[in-house]
């Protein structure tokens, strides 16, 4: 029972299981008994029975009555689950192929991971950037589709600390099964400590590396295998062959333009699928990203890859085969 919903959900579930077992046992027993007791024997004929109105009414009304109980219980619980309490802590969720981006009301950003305090109502306000996803935490017994262009909400109240699975339950493309993460339920004081971890500090390039993951750049611009976007290692300062035949040098301006207005110069051999980040990214963030991309080329070849790769590559969702 990791959430307040889970108890009622399981209670309802057990009720349904009991009814199902009883009914299944009844039917199986009847079939088995009739099939053996009335199996074909020499000299005994079947007794013709047309039917019985009383029985028909009985096995129409009784199941209906039991099912109305299920309906009532399910509807009550559902109503409860769809009505978030007013004072719940709010977390904004954006689903995106194939990651979860979460932002606390206090401003903390998280990726594929959500830290929440125990025994506190949490309300998620969710939307998607591309296709329909579904935010599913099995341990909390909650699930809600995340739909582009509108908000859906869900809420839960964790009752036990621990780490729980977060799944995407609505098929969303190639790495649907990689769109997973975890919900970390912490004691109140641990949570406060985590919150006050404060904004990330570090060098510009390090911040850029974090942004590179946050914005999901690393899903396409991969370092380990050929992704849907060009590999950025060693890119800076090199000439780039464009689709329209031109060649440009990968300087700061080029990198900046490729982020802000990604459709302007398409690298030969790639599809124009990168989103336009204009007005969605601050100047500081841009600077950090450019610094990071530069850093991918500056370090000596041998090292440049490995440390960066590890962290950036690990985020890229596909558990390596």
């Amino acid at each position: 029972m990791a959430s307040s919903h889970a108890f009622w959900e399981d209670a309802l579930y057990v009720f349904l299981v009991v009814v199902t077992l009883a009914m299944t046992a009844l039917i199986f027993t009847l079939v088995a008994v009739f099939a053996t007791k009335y199996r074909r024997r020499h000299g005994r004929e079947a007794t013709q029975i047309e039917g019985s109105l009383l029985l028909e009414i009985g096995w129409t009304v009784v199941p209906l009555g039991i099912m109305m109980l299920m309906f009532a219980g399910g509807a009550l619980l559902y109503f409860h689950m769809r009505t978030p309490p007013r004072d719940a802590a709010e977390v904004y969720v954006v689903g995106k192929q194939w990651m979860w981006k979460l932002e606390h009301a206090e401003g903390q950003m998280e990726l594929n991971e959500l830290h929440v305090p125990v025994d506190r109502d949490v309300k998620l306000i969710m939307t998607s950037q591309d296709v329909i996803h579904s935010f599913f935490v099995p341990a909390f017994r909650v699930k809600m589709d995340v739909i582009p262009g509108r908000y859906t909400t869900m809420w839960f109240r964790p009752t036990k600390t621990g780490t729980y699975h977060l799944f995407c339950a609505q098929f969303c493309g190639t790495m649907h099964s990689g769109m997973i993460g975890q919900i970390v339920v912490m004691e109140q004081k641990d949570y406060q400590a985590w919150l006050s971890g404060g904004p990330v500090t570090g060098s510009l390039a390090e911040n850029g590396q974090k942004l590179f993951q946050q914005f999901g750049c690393s899903t396409c611009h991969r370092f380990d295998v050929q992704g849907r976007g060009p590999n950025l290692i060693g890119l800076f300062g090199k000439p780039v062959q464009l689709q329209d035949g031109r060649t440009v040098t990968a300087d700061e301006d080029y990198i900046r333009e490729s982020i802000v207005n990604s459709q302007a110069k398409i690298v030969s051999g790639f599809q124009p699928i990168m989103p336009v980040f204009q007005s969605q990214i601050s100047e500081e963030q841009l600077n950090a990203l450019v610094a990071y991309v530069k850093s991918l080329s500056q370090a000596p070849a041998g090292q440049a890859g490995s440390p960066d790769l590890k962290s950036a590559g690990a985020e890229s969702q596909s558990p390596q085969q």
């Binding site: 099912m67 399910g74 769809r82 329909i132 809600m144």
Partner: protein, 544 residues
């Protein structure tokens, strides 16, 4: 085994004409049924192969066998082929086509040429789908949900959508033919209350085909147009609503479940009385429950959308209506069970499948209640629980009924008896394999494993291994009938006209029947299932 007294020289629909043209241009409903039998069997094994790939991939938590894209295409192919190219045409187009004219005492369906056209439409759709498959396939899942299908998938959505669009017309025309035949072609004296329950169920199925299929047809057209012309009808960033697609899709696709299961119930309603030597218990209720399922089945669709962002109020309405549709299904199960009471039950292969059907459909139906109940559906939706539930209905239900029916009418279709011992063995293997495959999936679902996952957390592995093991057993169970039924065509004992001593007009003609079914149009003077007047079949009377 009684020696068949049938003269081998007698003209029947199989030896009336020879040559490929006599098959491809036939308008004989029985020959068209055979054409369907071959084509859907082909599709069954293509879809089954995809299922095998899925189960093998899921043997391990990592993505070891297939790439993610290949896996996504595999389950999409499995779903689309099994639903649109196997289950929906299976019993109606094979057994329905073969039997309905005979059961109503007619020489053919009302529109024999349209019947042939509908097979060609099916084949055209099938070829287009296979072309789509070999040139790249499609990865949207069988449900085609936008905005993935309309904007983000890089696969052949348009081609697959068109293939399914085309196959819909085959379904519509088949339904049209059945409805008109049942209304207009009944033999003298065959009133509605004397119709076999097989015909009643197919009548209900046909109504769904007629009134549901056009909606998915137009919905797929909209998806194709949206994808090709970038219209924005289902794109929320341009004012459209992706949930509208789900409404339109499930308006057909939920009733489509009843297109699959009602014909199977039709078969069971014939088999159980025959092997219990008894009139069916509560004929009127079984007949009317088919119609009730067809009607109520249309107003429950949004139970597929309880967490898809529909309104609270709407979810409650649809949950309530979903419970109503469970009642007629329960009525049927109770009546079949009661039919055996004080009967004279024998354990021939068709009856084995009927037992299997009743058991598995009971579980499948009852687990449906978990998904109709709003509170539990939130957790179980889109998990393996749903997969297990609908496989219990569509495989445990529909395919059990289909195999039972094929065995039951095999003597009539082929004029040969299948080997009984092999038949029982296969039925047993299918039952065991099926339960081993799908029962663990109920637990997986409750534990939270989402559907359509290429990789999964390692704690789910044990149950997945069980499921894959079951699937291999199931595969053997499905291959066995293919082998011994083909064997029986040549080596099986010649069948009598009525080997089961069953009631029904189809058993009054010869096996296999002549081209126009009856030498003389029969006149019906009594109700269906008058088993008190039938003698016992010879073979089984000697037991004990």
């Amino acid at each position: 085994m009684a020696t068949a007294a049938v003269s081998t020289e007698r003209k029947n629909y199989l030896n009336a004409e020879y040559g490929i043209r006599s098959w491809l241009f036939t308008t004989d409903h029985k020959r068209i049924a055979i054409l369907y039998l071959f084509s859907i069997t082909l599709f069954f094994f293509i879809g089954g192969f995809a299922a095998l790939l899925i189960r093998l991939e899921l043997l391990t938590p990592g993505g070891d066998l297939l790439t993610a894209d290949a896996y996504n295409k595999a389950f999409t192919t499995h779903g689309q082929i099994m639903v649109f190219f196997f289950l929906i045409p299976s019993i109606p187009a094979v057994l329905g086509n073969f039997l309905i004219p005979m059961m109503v005492g007619a020489k053919d369906l009302a529109f024999p040429r349209i019947n042939l056209i509908s097979w060609y439409i099916y084949i055209a759709a099938g070829i287009l789908y296979i072309h789509c498959l070999v040139t790249g396939g499609v990865d949207t899942g069988w449900t085609f949900y936008p905005t993935f299908s309309t904007q983000f998938s890089n696969t052949k959505v348009i081609e697959a959508g068109l293939a399914i669009f085309i196959s819909g017309f085959s379904s519509i025309l088949t339904g049209l033919n059945f409805v008109v035949t049942i209304h207009r072609m009944r033999a003298p004296g065959l009133t509605w209350s004397r119709l076999p329950l097989f015909v009643w169920s197919h009548y209900a199925t046909s109504i769904i085909m007629l009134l549901g299929t056009p909606v998915i047809a137009i919905t797929l057209v909209l998806v194709v147009l949206e994808r090709a012309l970038n219209l924005g009808i289902f794109d929320p960033t341009r004012g459209g609503d992706p949930v509208l697609f789900q409404h339109l899709f499930w308006f057909y696709s939920h009733p489509a479940v009843y297109i699959m299961i009602l014909p199977s119930m039709a078969v069971i309603s014939e088999i159980v009385p025959c092997f219990s030597r008894k009139r069916v218990f509560g004929y009127d209720f079984v007949a009317m429950s088919s119609i009730a399922i067809a009607a109520i089945g249309f107003v429950v669709w949004a139970h597929h959308m309880f967490v898809a962002g529909i309104s609270l109020y709407s979810a409650m309405v649809f949950s309530f209506l979903s419970f109503l549709v469970a009642v007629p299904s329960a009525v049927k199960v109770f009546n079949w069970t009661a039919t055996m009471y004080k009967g004279s039950v024998s354990f021939n292969t068709p009856m084995m499948y009927a037992f299997g059907f009743i058991g598995l459909f009971t579980i499948g139906g009852l687990t449906g209640l978990f998904l109709a109940t709003l509170g539990t559906d939130v957790h179980l939706h889109d998990t393996y629980f749903v997969i297990a539930h609908f496989h219990y209905v569509m495989v445990g239900g529909a395919i059990m009924g289909y195999l039972g029916g094929i065995h039951f009418w095999w003597p009539k279709i082929s004029g040969r008896m299948y080997p009984e011992a092999w038949g029982r063995l296969a039925a047993l293997i299918v039952f065991i394999g099926f339960n081993l495959t799908f029962f663990p999936q109920f637990i997986l679902g409750y534990l939270g494993m989402p559907r359509r996952y290429w990789q999964y957390p390692p704690e789910y592995q044990v149950l997945n291994v069980l499921s894959t093991a079951g699937a291999t057993i199931l595969a053997v169970g499905y291959l066995l009938p293919l082998v011994y039924l083909l064997w029986s065509l040549r080596y099986g004992a010649p069948a009598e006209d009525n080997p089961w001593k069953a009631t029904g007009l189809e058993w009054t003609t010869s096996s296999p029947p002549p081209t126009f079914n009856f030498d003389e149009i029969p006149v019906v003077t009594e109700e269906a299932y008058a088993y008190e007047k039938m003698p016992l079949p010879e073979e089984v009377t000697l037991e004990r």
